[in-house]
């Protein structure tokens, strides 16, 4: 950085509130799309793995491989096919959510006590009703733990998608680096951290509201 330059120029911040709000909005949108699409895919694969247990190892193995590819490399590899697009960004972001989400959905369902399942079956629940009314609600605690980790990870990763022109708080970091200007860089980084903390808090509250039974006794 330029010598004598303060870490944060507050007058720049005051003059850019609209842009900051917009970047936060973009960041949230990119994160929300990634986690929601990730959840849909993860639920489908997890249900498949619960129904057909031999499929579970190959599914987690594949998700694990995706998880280990460095994000920069993955975006670089995708750009020739899908361009500098939202699709490119989301393919990468969704890939990174799958492993943790699938593992927690399957683990949560498998952690339901066998006598609870036995009682449900013995009273005349169909297998589908057992999944939707018994196993899924009881797995919610573990599933939410997965959603929280996936969401925080994604909020961090979204800063990288600025490189392929998708905005978000990463854009501020990027211009900070390009212009040797610390104010947007620090703002982008700290807002991203703050966003992660706030969103995590919201998820905790949501989980509490959805699983009232876990707060008793």
């Amino acid at each position: 950085m330029t010598p004598g330059e303060p870490l944060i120029r507050w007058e720049w911040v005051a003059g850019h509130t609209d842009e900051l709000t917009m970047r936060i909005g973009e960041h949230l949108e990119l994160t929300a799309i990634a986690v929601l699409v990730g959840l849909v895919i993860a639920f489908a694969l997890a249900f498949l793995a619960v129904r057909l247990p031999p499929l579970y190892p190959p599914i987690t193995w594949t998700a694990g491989i995706l998880y280990t590819i460095p994000s920069l490399a993955l975006f670089a590899l995708l750009v020739p096919y899908t361009g500098l697009s939202l699709l490119t960004a989301e393919i990468g972001l969704v890939s990174y959510t799958l492993l943790i989400l699938i593992r927690n959905i399957v683990g949560g369902i498998r952690s339901v006590p066998s006598e609870v399942r036995d009682a449900a079956l013995g009273m005349g629940y169909t297998p589908r009703q057992i999944l939707l009314r018994i196993e899924l609600p009881l797995a919610l605690g573990v599933i939410f733990a997965g959603i929280r980790v996936a969401t925080i990870t994604t909020i961090g990763l979204v800063t990288v998608t600025a490189l392929i022109g998708q905005g978000g708080l990463g854009y501020l970091i990027l211009i900070g680096i390009q212009q040797f200007f610390s104010t947007p860089l620090i703002l982008g980084a700290s807002l991203s951290v703050g966003l992660a903390i706030v969103v995590d808090g919201v998820l905790v509250l949501l989980q509490r509201a959805l699983t009232p039974w876990s707060r008793v006794a």
Partner: protein, 324 residues
């Protein structure tokens, strides 16, 4: 207030094989409507497998199971299970549902109207001694072991099933609570009159609860008889050993003072003798007489003197067959 008579259940040559292992071998018996049949035996004897074949949680390899003459194997298993109450040892209560929601399980599956479900839940909670106002919204984790078992029983009875299957329902609670639950269950059964098939490994529980006791061993039915007969005439050495060397004493708890022949002696002679009531079990009468060092007791029905019960008379009732 008998809501509905129980169903007659008949097992005909029911067999379950796992590969080369025979878990249950040509099991046949009939449970008359409204009676409690207890399946008892050491672990691995096939009692739980037999129970679970009745509601088709396990499919028999061969044989027939008839409920009121209808073969359960011809029915849709899900529909069948909704007509049969099911209680298990660990209760299997749904941890994410309140007491009221747990009890409402089968009525909801059967699409009862809301008001009817709510009324039924309240009725059942009162029946099992839980205050609906206070307990309705609690979760299973907020209940004691005994309360959980009661809710498990109430849940199984919710849709007024003519048959209930109970797999060691009272085994996980302490002895004092267990005895209370057993007594409550007998009271419930007397007022409702459903048929019950009950699995236990505890012979005392079998004798206390069963109208009929089926003793099983290695997948076979060894003896099927009312408890008194089981104690007095065990079919073989295994049954004799299983019911215990104190089976004569156990039998005394099934007999009442009013049910035996009394000696007609002068009331004045029994002045210092303990007073017994006809409803007392012979076992309790024996305890009273032994503890007051009396040879005889005066049996009184209220103010009316009925006769004397003597120690030798009780001794004769203790006598049971020795199997060859």
């Amino acid at each position: 207030m008998a809501e509905r008579a129980g169903a007659t259940v008949e097992l005909r040559e029911v067999t379950k094989r796992y590969g080369d292992t025979v878990a249950v071998d040509r099991l046949s018996f009939t449970v008359p409507a409204g009676r409690i049949c207890v399946l008892v035996g050491p672990s691995g004897c096939g009692k739980t497998t037999s129970l679970r074949m009745v509601n088709r949680l396990i499919e028999p390899t061969s044989g027939e199971i008839l409920i009121d003459g209808q073969n359960v194997l011809a029915e849709d298993p899900t529909q069948l299970r909704r007509r049969i109450g099911y209680v298990i040892q660990q209760t299997g209560l749904f941890p994410h549902q309140t007491v009221a929601d747990n009890i409402a399980t089968v009525p909801r599956l059967l699409d009862w109207p809301k008001e009817r479900i709510q009324a039924r839940v309240d009725e059942l909670m009162k029946l099992i001694g839980l205050d609906p106002e206070r307990m309705r919204r609690r979760y299973p984790a907020q209940l004691s072991g005994g309360e959980r078992q009661r809710v498990g029983v109430a849940r199984a009875m919710a849709a007024e099933p003519p048959l209930m299957l109970m797999d060691e329902p009272f085994a996980a609670v302490d002895p004092i609570v267990r005895e209370r639950l057993q007594n409550e269950f007998l009271r419930l059964h007397r007022s409702i009159g459903m048929t019950v098939i009950f699995v236990t490994h505890d012979i005392d529980e079998a004798i206390k609860l069963g109208d009929r006791v089926a003793v099983m061993r290695l997948g076979h039915l060894v003896q099927y008889a009312p408890p008194g007969e089981l104690l007095a005439h065990p079919a073989d050495a295994f049954v004799a050993q299983f019911v215990g060397s104190d089976r004569g004493l156990k039998r005394l708890s099934l007999l009442t003072v009013g049910g035996v022949e009394l000696e007609q002696v002068d009331r004045a002679r029994l002045d210092s003798a303990p007073v017994l009531s006809p409803a007392m079990s012979l076992r309790d009468a024996l305890a009273v007489m032994l503890s007051s060092e009396a040879q005889e007791g005066a049996v009184m029905d209220g103010d009316r003197y009925l006769g004397a019960l003597t120690l030798p008379r009780i001794g004769r009732m203790l006598r049971v067959d020795e199997p060859s």
